[in-house]
Amino acid sequence: MTAPTLDGLLGSAGVLVCCGSGGVGKTTTAAALGLEAARLGRRAVVVTIDPAKRLADALGVPGGLSNDPVQLPADGPGELWALMLDTATTFDGLVRANAADTEQAERILANRFYHNVAGSLSGTQEYMAAERLHALHADERFDLVIVDTPPTRNALDFLDAPGTLAKFINHPLFRLLMMPTRRGLRVLNVATQPILRTIGKVVGGDVLADAVAFFQAFSGMETGFRQRADEVIELLQSDTTRFVLVASPRADTIEEARFFAARLQGSDLSVSAVVVNRCTPQFGDPPTRRPRNADAALLYDNLREMRATARAERVHAAALLADPALPVDVHTTFVPTLPGDVHTMDALLQIRGLLFDTPA
């Protein structure tokens, strides 16, 4: 079986995850993939997990993106939508969907510990990203979800996040906290458990009391949460979810790309396509001799310098493509640096043209 091309992936995948380190044009690539998907007739939604406003900038969305998908103008029979993940709002929705009644949902949503978990806890963001991915995949408005991951080493933690939550719910401490208590005895109950007393010493008694109240309010919802986590894991590991590795041809970013490839391999997943952005463009051969004219000599030196840079870049990219964590003959697209900045729809269409050989 030959490796799928980017066009092939856009035609067949249900979820496309773009991963790579910062500054490699990952967001731009995700946006350009979305544009091409719409041209091919797919109903695509591009999701950014990165709290930075890069995707809104790249797509030129005035006022930025929100947690609800907005439709963007795109040529072709398909559709292009975009949204920025809001962890807290997504978690609230999940609580409402799983709560036995409004009263339980409100009790949880009003809890201070819950607010901290939903709003600022690292790990929650990854879990909600996976959760949102699942929800969008199931949403009938869309048939392709393109994910722009944040530019950190932990970007792929969302692959493990649903499993981590399931483990957390099964934890003995969690069960201990879920034990039925009589009203008024709750604080006493906390104080008499040595392990809870210790945790209270570290984080402060009031924080712990909030946590206990949260877990007790959560009671009865864990089955729903666990089932949902299992479904999310299944989606991430299914054949419809594909990974596009985005890199730029510099020694340090190539090193990072290899880290991502190994990380995916470690989760029994693999890279389906590679995009190498920001390659120094090549303009042809210089004259055989350096011109005598001083001005022309400057241009000659510039052309030679750019050729040397491009050659060094190819060597770096080759090191990535030869990495054992990547499938042999993985489809690779090299995208040259544009003379200007990519932050308008026109420039984005130009990038799409370079990725797919379609008219800009």
């Binding site: 406003k53 600022s120 806890l121 570290v202 984080v203 924080v207 870049e313 003379p339």
Partner: protein, 240 residues
């Protein structure tokens, strides 16, 4: 001086063969924190039973505060004149540095509160701590740097040093018309001039949006960032 790396990348060790580099992870810092607070026996039990994750969950921001606490300890230890931290990317940097203030608002007592208040004190004191923003001469990174700068000053009250603009193509514009139209030399020069023009325009825009001096790091040709390139960059450190 000491360089602190937070996300486990080995890159800095290779780039700085003659400088001491320490890696700090949240879980190691939390373990050490429990140790120094007379909870070492409990710490082991917590770690082996996996409860340590629950502790971190019970108090969001605790993983950030123990890392900042460890940095504060290194700063206070007196072993180094300067502790240089390779911080998290723009999106996470604000949450990271804001953890001290957030915890002060939610935790009313105990060692975490003490820790948070000591970290907040360090962050607010420009003689002890300053933040170096690093950006690129392109639209989105400049926008991000400006937003981050305002958030850091207004929400955290931390002092900012001059902003570093990295990978700037600093050369003068090339006399492109010295080669015939359509020739490789002409096309390459026009491309290079467009990039240089864009970099200059973005630096000017940044100066207009952010009243901080700029430190320019020139683009290193050849795309190989090695120890030698770092020396070249350090030698070319140019403040405007």
């Amino acid at each position: 001086m000491l360089v602190v790396e937070l996300d486990g990348k080995p890159t800095l060790d290779q780039l700085l063969p003659d400088v001491e580099v320490q890696h700090i992870s949240a879980s190691a810092a939390l373990g050490e924190y429990l140790d120094t607070h007379g909870l070492s026996r409990v710490a082991k039990r917590l770690a082996t039973s996996g409860i340590i994750d629950v502790v971190a969950t019970a108090s969001p921001g605790i993983d950030d505060i123990v890392v900042l606490g460890k940095i504060k300890q290194l700063e206070r230890g007196g072993l180094y004149d300067l502790v240089l931290v390779d911080g998290p990317a723009a999106g996470h940097a604000i949450t990271f540095l804001l953890s001290a203030k957030s915890l002060l608002a939610t935790v009313r007592g105990g060692p975490i509160r003490t820790q948070a208040s000591e970290v907040a004190e360090m962050l607010a004191d420009p003689t002890r701590c300053q933040v170096v923003l690093v950006t690129l001469p392109e639209t989105t990174p400049v926008n991000e740097a400006v937003e981050t700068a305002y958030a850091l000053e207004e929400r955290i009250g931390v002092h900012l040093t001059p902003v570093v603009v990295n990978a700037v193509d600093v050369g003068a514009l090339l006399p492109a018309e010295a080669a015939p139209e359509g020739s490789p030399m002409r096309a390459a020069a026009e491309f290079r001039n467009a990039r240089r023009g864009m970099h200059a325009a973005e630096r000017e825009r940044l100066a207009g949006l952010l009243a901080l001096p700029q430190l320019v790091l020139p683009l290193v040709a050849g795309s190989v960032l090695g120890a030698a390139a770092v020396d070249t960059l350090a030698a070319g450190w140019d403040c405007e």
